[in-house]
Subunit: 180 residues, 2 copies
């Protein structure tokens, strides 16, 4: 069994950190509470006149590196690695502004999971051409140039609850769902 | 047809740049001429007492970003992209010292090939789990956790000429070899 695991929104709390920085940096502006976040892209849920401020947050140096781990994720990854040989972190860089995100994703893995896991990072915009049995990803629809081999199991987040036809999990129930 | 193309030693001249810097930085020390390079890892062909100096060169900031393109590579990539939809740059980061190499590979692609190609970078230590028909790589033996789907076509270099059982090409004869 080969497991592919996305990073942002699955093991690293992109949405939580975004909201924290938004409230701190723009205390006078409205915000979208986490449980009201709809749609995958945070930028699309904020008024268009705020678009530049929204992007400024996740393009800023240190944003990716300082994402807090999603509760339970690090413990789950350690358990998974103990029982499976083939586990990869399969993550897409932010483009076109990749300057901070690419290296910071590596730093994040190194700091939170250690050097061994850095070996198992796959950085790709097209996850459909990576071989695996299961991809755990919070994105509602993971598309690319190929018919993927893997089953997409949704990592449950408020913004993907409109997807009904896929299995979903969190780091609280992953063992039951994946039957590992 | 999906083509995967390695970077160092295939489109970016790692060995040439290493030797240029070695001669400049250590003019008093012996060097291995390019056509006498044997074995994939340059470090292993230099005396072990030079190991630290050798690594210092390719771990230094700017090394990866300033690799000259291998002659003919950029023109070939442009032609390939005009005739194939699925072409990916499939490259492994230097580990454990990934600090410069990871981001600089992205910069290299952006600067030499443009933003579109940055979309098609796959950074992975395990190329065997990437789906493709052909992988063009200068490494004699590309191993990983899976039986690869692709045929490994060797990019011809002095240090891989001991491999006889695989097809090989350069950017001078790639069209005939690949029949594209």
């Amino acid at each position: 069994m080969r497991l592919l695991i996305d990073m942002d929104g699955v093991i690293a709390d992109f949405e939580g950190e975004f909201l924290r920085r938004w409230k701190t940096g723009h205390p006078e502006k409205e915000f979208v509470p986490l449980d009201e976040r709809k749609g995958f892209y945070v930028r699309e849920q904020y008024p268009s006149e705020y678009s530049e401020f929204v992007q400024e947050i996740y393009h800023s140096p240190g944003f990716y590196q300082n994402l807090p781990p999603i509760p339970g994720a690090l413990e789950a990854l350690t358990e998974i690695k103990n029982s499976l040989n083939n586990v990869f972190l399969c993550t897409s860089p932010m483009l076109p502004k990749y300057e901070n995100c690419v290296l910071e994703k590596f730093h994040w893995v190194y700091e939170h999971l250690g050097a061994d896991w850095v070996n198992n990072i796959i950085l790709t915009r097209d996850k459909t051409i990576v071989k695996g049995d299961i991809l755990i990803d919070d994105k509602p629809d993971v598309k690319g140039s190929s018919d993927p081999e893997w089953e997409h199991v949704i990592y449950d987040q408020p913004y993907n609850r409109n997807i009904k036809e896929k299995r979903r999990l969190t780091w609280r129930n992953w063992k039951e769902v994946l039957n590992i």
